[in-house]
């Protein structure tokens, strides 16, 4: 898994690519928490995530909780089919704000 972080329009966009699994989720968690730490809204681009497991989902949850704690926003964008299935299994599709695209995500966090 790789990740790309960029700032755009007062928000942080973090794109995860590849499989977020037991091996890579610690990296994903670190990246996500780092973005939240910038005290800007965060858009997580999941379009390139082929597979995400429970540990990856847990990282997303932890990031969302941190963001809420500091009054910041975190949305998921362009969630791949595979990732969406896992979020549904975790009943988290209603917990996260899920946007169709990164652009929609940026709009949402404004």
């Amino acid at each position: 898994m790789i990740h790309n972080i960029k700032e755009q329009g007062g928000a942080v966009i973090v794109a995860l690519e590849g499989d977020v699994d037991l091996q890579s989720s610690p990296d994903a968690r670190k990246a996500l928490l780092e973005c939240v730490g910038r005290k800007m809204p965060v858009v997580v681009d999941l379009s390139g995530v082929g597979y995400i497991d429970s540990s990856g989902v847990a990282s997303l949850v932890e990031s969302l909780q941190s963001a809420r704690k500091i009054g910041s926003k975190l949305v998921l964008a362009a969630v791949s089919e595979g990732a969406l299935r896992v979020l549904q299994l975790a009943r988290l599709d209603k917990v996260f704000t899920i946007c169709n695209s990164v652009e929609a995500g940026l709009e949402k966090v404004k």
Partner: protein, 586 residues
């Protein structure tokens, strides 16, 4: 002898009895119907005194193992009930010692007369009759009569003959009453013993049915037994068993037996290691056991899925293992009996032996079996036992045990010792394992009845970077089976999460473990078996987490249960580890 005489009704206040035989019969009935011997004695002495027409009478019985004579009943002007003499004191003593009756027409001329009473009471003893009460050689006491009523107050020889006859009858009645009393007591004890035996029998396990691998027999030498055996299933499919022998016989042994058996059964349901279980039972018994009593016991756990027995032997007769090549092996004790010492050399556990039955039978027995007498008077012995087992090899285990037991408990003579034997017969489970077509040694019906088609078999180290490999293999296998994209993805999630659990929880993150994955198809079922070789985990703790309380980590089990149709941990395979079976309907 049947001299008709009139009893003085005005004196005794009793119904007149006219005939000697009638008197004897009344006395006999009195003793037989009354449970109060002392009251019967009182009425007997009144009858006799009246009948012989004496002024007073006293009935003495030997007490204190024959050392003293005590007056148990008296009638007449002076009540001397309770008076105790030395066994050879006075006329009564002489009469009892010589077992001969006496007539002293004039006491003033007899040296044996004990004048003390007369002095105290002011009563003047003129004449005495005394006849011993005895039955055969058993001396019971004597009856003494004082002063004939009317006339010169002196007795005649006829009076003595009459008293002799009645004393003999009274002796018989007393002896009968004593025996009846002893009998009642004996019956009461017998009833209590029978109740104890009933409770004890209820502690033995119920027979397990025709194909059940364990069977046992317990024949008590007395009503209650100091031996016991037990077996009961554990919820992982294994069977916990034991056989023990309490030192001594009788009620104290039976009570310790009940305690030990209950402790084993109760603790055995949670303590799943025989060595640890034995140590726990030992500690409990040591805490409260009566000094000098102990229990020898062989106990363990049999796994029908693997044929493996974990056995711990605490000072018990070595169990015998009869293998399928017709060889016997004994399993000697490696620890002292239970109840001897709470201090164990090896920390908190008794030593434990692993035995692979592989279709053979393990016999555990008490020395009552090997030291039991055969019809010719010789002992069965261990060799004799082996011979009988060999002769009856074609029978099932329960019938083999019956054959051995019948040789010793032939029903005609009392058993020398309690007779107990337990057999763990692995033959049927072994046969099932051989035809089970199951991977590794797992015999539990993981696939249902039909032969499944093996699609994938993969072994990977317990490392996170191998999970992608596993996922891809599962995905391709699912596609191969014609699963659509969604089902395939779900199968990948389930296997991936299950592997993660193994890596993180079973192996605790260690990369040196091994994970075996097998995927099979059985008609419309896709069966996934995931095996690890880590320490067996507590299945009850593997629960989907509460989704209202999501914290990082630990959603995996929930995912697995969401996407699969069946998820279960199978009985821990013989060589340890965990086996997870997941099934998805196609």
């Amino acid at each position: 002898m049947a001299k008709r005489q009139t009893a003085d009704a005005s004196d005794g206040g009793e119904v007149q009895i006219y005939d000697h035989l009638e008197l004897l019969s009344a006395m006999g009935q009195e003793f037989a119907s009354s449970l109060d011997i002392e009251a019967s004695l009182k009425r007997a002495i009144e009858h006799i005194t009246n009948y012989v027409n004496a002024e007073g009478g006293a009935l003495f019985m030997l007490n204190d193992e024959g050392k003293t004579l005590r007056c148990h009943a008296s009638t007449g002007p002076t009540d001397i009930t309770g008076l105790t003499l030395d066994a050879d004191q006075g006329i009564v003593g002489r009469c009892v010692q010589n077992n001969a009756s006496e007539i002293i027409r004039d006491v003033s001329k007899d040296a044996g007369f004990h004048g003390g009473i007369d002095e105290k009471t002011g009563f003047t003893t003129k004449s005495i009759l005394c006849a011993p009460m005895s039955v055969k050689d058993e001396r019971i006491g004597a009856i003494e009569l004082i002063n004939k009523r009317g006339g010169d107050g002196l007795f005649e020889d006829n009076d003595l003959h009459l008293l002799q006859a009645m004393s003999a009858s009274a002796a018989m009645a007393i002896l009968n009453a004593r025996m009846a009393e002893a009998l009642v007591e004996q019956e009461r004890l017998a009833r209590e013993l029978e109740l104890a035996a009933e409770i004890q029998r209820s502690l033995l396990p119920e027979a397990g049915g025709k194909d059940y691998p364990l069977s046992g027999v317990n024949h008590a030498a007395r009503t209650v037994s100091g031996d016991f055996y037990d077996f009961f299933p554990l919820d992982d499919g294994r069977i916990c068993f034991n056989l023990g022998d309490v030192s001594g016989k009788g009620m104290n042994a039976a009570l310790l037996m009940a305690k030990t058996a209950s402790l084993f059964r109760c603790l055995g349901k949670t303590v799943r290691k025989p060595g640890r279980l034995m140590a726990r039972v030992n500690a409990e018994i040591c805490e409260t056991a009566t000094r000098g009593m102990f229990v020898t016991m062989a106990g363990g756990i049999y796994d029908p899925a693997t044929g493996i027995v974990l056995l711990s032997n605490a000072g018990h007769e070595p169990p015998l293992f009869h293998d399928t090549n017709d060889n016997f092996h004994d399993m000697p004790a490696e620890a002292p009996p239970l109840g001897i010492t709470a201090m164990l050399a090896d920390g908190n556990e008794f030593p434990e032996t692993e035995l692979r039955l592989d279709g053979g039978t393990l016999y555990i027995f008490t020395d009552g079996l090997t030291e039991g007498y055969l019809e010719d008077g010789s002992e069965l012995g261990v060799e004799g036992f082996k011979a009988v087992i060999r002769e009856n090899a074609n029978l099932d285990a329960a019938a083999r045990l019956d054959a051995v037991i019948k040789l010793i408990d032939r029903g005609d003579v009392a058993l020398r010792d309690d007779l107990t034997v337990l057999a763990i017969d692995d033959s049927k489970n072994h046969a099932a394992r051989q035809t089970g077509h199951t991977p590794s040694n797992v015999t539990i019906d993981v696939f249902g009845s039909d032969e499944p088609e093996l699609l994938l078999s993969l072994t990977v180290p317990s490392q996170a970077d191998r999970l992608k490999l596993v996922r891809n293999a599962v995905l391709e296998t699912a596609k191969f089976c014609g699963c659509d994209k969604d089902v395939s993805r779900d199968l990948v999630i389930a296997v991936d999460e299950a592997c993660q659990n193994v890596i993180r929880h079973a192996y605790g993150g260690s990369p040196n473990g091994k994970i075996e994955l097998k995927i099979c198809r059985n008609e419309d079922e896709l069966i996934i078996l995931l095996r690890d070789f880590a320490e067996t985990i507590d299945v009850s703790k593997v629960q989907p987490r509460d989704l209202d309380d999501i914290k990082p980590g630990g959603l995996g089990t929930h995912f697995i249960r969401e996407v699969m149709d069946e998820v279960e941990f199978l009985a821990s395979p013989g060589d340890g580890g965990n086996l997870l079976r997941m099934m998805k309907k196609l």
